[in-house]
């Protein structure tokens, strides 16, 4: 028997979970909405998704090469960013814009701030907003499902009552590739909750807050929660670990804050959609929320009682 053993410090056991595994779960959870988006918006949707993911991977690869960092493609976080961005783009968008969006997400928002885990805002959301500000016309030109008809009237922009709840749930309306079917996004979200990848706190508070505040402000709360990018935002973008609070109370504050800002932007601002901006603004507050909700060590109260 050899007498050279591995000497490492405890613990000597490790969970089967891994960063790549978590990212893979997110990809699985996004698949129903992705496939559905391709079905209703056709091959162009598939192209946008492909270009966006390839651009994200390529940007990460090139950045790692230029900065002499270790290859990090295997952690799948670039795939998730590319996919999430694509699902938030209209299928009519020129492909090069999607490629630019992914490159912005990976290089400017993620890597320039230190790479995985260091970015302070969600890369896909920031990139979407960059595209929205840079190419407002192209970013708001939506196809109707199964159609070539260009429509700018997403349910949010349309008159109240133009869509029924069934259409909203199934996503039979104009919109970004992956955001239309709240039902399929919900299924993906529940998968993530069951796999314990995300906690239900953020999406529940986010969607709940949009419902309540819309009701207070006199809009139809049902269509408010099922339209726009709320479900994809609440389940997949607001729950990004890096840019959301870790502690339960922090997650509740974050979720409610996202919901409140979404409604305020939708009702009062001259912007087509509030979810992305709301998440972006709340992302910036995360360090403060974390500080506010940091736990005291076990036994602190007992020490104070003495």
């Amino acid at each position: 028997m050899q007498n050279k053993f591995i000497v490492s410090s405890s613990p000597h056991l490790h969970t089967p979970d891994s960063t790549g595994g978590i990212m893979f779960d997110v990809i699985i959870a996004l698949l129903p909405a992705t496939i559905y988006g391709i079905i209703i918006f056709g091959y162009r949707a598939a192209l946008i998704i492909l270009v966006s993911i390839v651009s994200a991977l390529l940007s990460e690869f090139v950045w790692n090469k230029l900065t002499k960092k270790e290859n990090s493609l295997y952690d799948l976080s670039a795939v998730v960013t590319g996919l999430l961005l694509a699902l938030n783009l209209p299928s009519s968008l020129p492909l090069w814009m999607a490629a630019v969006g992914s490159a912005v997400a990976i290089i400017i928002v993620k890597q320039m701030f230190g790479g995985l885990g260091q970015n302070f805002v969600n890369p896909a959301i920031a990139a979407r907003i960059v595209l929205l500000v840079s190419f407002p016309a192209a970013m708001t030109k939506f196809y109707e499902p199964f159609g070539e008809i260009v429509s700018s009237a997403t349910p949010l922009a349309a008159e109240t009552g133009a869509y029924n709840v069934k259409d909203l749930l199934l996503g039979m309306h104009a919109g970004s590739i992956g955001e239309t079917s709240s039902l399929l996004l919900l299924i993906g979200g529940i998968y993530l909750i069951l796999r314990k990848v995300i906690s239900p706190a953020i999406p529940c508070c986010f969607i709940g807050a949009v419902f309540v505040f819309s009701l207070i402000l006199g809009s139809d709360p049902i269509s408010a929660i099922f339209s726009g990018g709320l479900f994809i935002g609440a389940f997949f973008m607001a729950t990004d670990y890096v840019t959301s609070p870790a502690m339960p109370w922090g997650q509740i504050i974050f979720g409610v804050g996202c919901g409140l800002l979404t409604v305020i932007i939708r009702e009062f601002a001259a912007l087509p959609e509030g979810v992305s901006y709301a998440i972006l603004l709340m992302n910036i507050l995360v360090p403060h929320i974390n500080r506010l909700t940091a736990r005291k060590p076990f036994g602190t109260e007992a020490a104070n009682n003495e």
């Binding site: 978590i22 890096v242 870790a246 736990r295």
Partner: protein
């Protein structure tokens, strides 16, 4: 009263921790007594406190139970020979707690007990504390704190609750469980003796719910004992790691939180490992001090996983040989549990009083590390509510804010490293944090 009704439920729930597979593969096999090895090497420091000084010399004849080393320091426990034979030499060996002087004894194979050993009659608390020291008893759960010091604290009237720790929450280890199944009489007699001598108000024998047979066994035996006070209770703990950690155990069994930097005594409790109790009673009953230890031998690189009762000072190599040998691809040997035990560098390492397992592993899957993704699982898993990720970050950034992260209260249970999907060595970071904080404070 039916069994279920009279077994207590935990008062509070353990918050945090990790769901770790139990791997209690050796639970149902009777312990096997290993024959005396050709030589034993007995370290002179097997406890927290001062190293003992040898009281024997080369070529001295010793018996099983002969005192071979002792110390005058209060925080220490005497050390006894675990075999009969001849003292060969005193040499330094490398143990998990450092390089220590050790007495090498060549066994004559007879295992003759020291003729001076005799049972004790215990009438007073002082006698019991004295007996505990003579037994050489240290905390057998792994910490190795001299038990007589703990018993002295029970003399204070405000300490009225004794918690017997049989959580055994570390994966693989089943030695405390086998103690319950095989030495239940010594356990219960010891418990009742302690209660009567120290006039304790409550005694809670706390066992994790994944050991129902141990709970049943102790209950069965205890229900035959006539006890008017009826204040010795069994408690079925939730099965979660690190349930057996002292602070967590006091909280779940009594609902009391031990203040930061304090001990169970500060909330009126004392915690003792279940095997410590039976070892103490066996000493009182027979006069034989702590000279042997049951260790769980397990892991995927050992031929015959089982519980083995070995003389203290037996080398890991001798134990592996006794258990059918190890696989040629063996990569790692752990003394103790996989969460808090120490990986040892060679098989010369010996079993000390506080050792409770030898785990041999091969085909260890390498952990792929990525940058921290700030999922917060480390903080959620920390039973002390610390933020291991923040500590690691602080260490990487010139120890910024380290003093505000309460790193000193880390119990090093390993939960944070276990749950980390990014494979960060967080428990190691906590240890570094403690070390650096001490250094920074000393520099001031």
């Amino acid at each position: 009263m039916s069994l279920k009704e009279s077994i207590l439920k935990p008062i509070a729930k353990l918050k945090g921790g990790a769901h770790i597979p139990h791997f209690k593969n050796t639970a149902e096999a009777e312990s096997v007594v290993m024959d005396a090895p050709a030589t034993v090497t007995i370290p002179l420091k097997q406890h927290i406190g001062a190293e003992c000084v040898a009281t024997v010399q080369k070529d001295d004849k010793v018996f099983v139970g002969t005192v071979i080393a002792d110390s005058t320091a209060p925080l220490s426990a005497p050390i006894h020979s675990s075999v009969s034979g001849t003292v060969k030499e005193i040499k330094k060996i490398s143990q998990p707690n450092g390089v220590v002087n050790s007495i090498v004894i060549e066994s004559d194979g007879e295992m003759t007990p020291d003729p001076s050993l005799k049972p004790r009659k215990i009438k007073t608390a002082k006698q019991l504390v004295q007996a505990c020291r003579e037994c050489g008893l240290v905390g057998l759960g792994g910490a190795g704190f001299p038990v007589h010091i703990k018993l002295e604290s029970l003399l204070k009237p405000e300490i009225d609750t004794l918690i017997i720790n049989c959580a055994e929450c570390e994966p693989y280890i089943t030695s405390d469980y086998r103690e319950c199944m095989e030495n239940y009489d010594d356990i219960l007699n010891g418990v009742y003796l302690l209660r009567d001598i120290f006039e304790l108000k409550n005694v809670i024998i706390a066992i994790e719910g994944n050991k129902p047979k141990a709970i049943e066994k102790l209950y069965e035996v205890a229900s035959d004992i006539q006890d008017e006070a009826d204040n010795v209770k069994l408690m079925c703990l939730d099965t979660s790691y690190p349930q057996g950690a002292e602070k967590m155990l006091v909280y779940t069994t009594t609902g009391k939180k031990i203040p930061l930097g304090k001990l169970p005594a500060d909330v009126g409790c004392a915690v003792m490992n279940i095997t410590s109790i039976s070892a103490l009673y066996r000493f009182i009953r027979t006069g034989m001090p702590l000279v042997s230890k049951r260790v769980t031998v397990d892991g995927n690189a050992i031929a015959k996983p089982q519980n083995v009762i070995v003389p203290i000072g037996t080398s890991v190599q001798d134990i592996i040989d006794f258990c059918g040998g190890a696989d040629e691809n063996i990569e790692k040997i752990i003394l103790g549990g996989p969460m808090m035990g120490s990986a040892i560098k060679d098989t010369e390492t010996v079993i000390a009083k506080q050792s409770n397992a030898v785990l041999c592993f091969k085909n260890i899957k390498p952990i792929r590390t990525t940058p921290c993704i700030r999922c917060g699982r480390c903080a959620a898993a920390c039973p002390m509510f610390l933020a291991p990720g923040a500590v690691e970050h602080s260490i990487d950034h010139n120890f910024t804010n380290l003093e505000n992260l309460n790193v000193m209260s880390c119990i090093e249970c390993g939960s944070c490293s276990y749950v980390c999907p990014a494979g960060r060595p967080l428990t190691a970071a906590m240890r570094t944090g403690k070390f650096e904080l001490r250094r920074l404070q000393n520099a001031k």
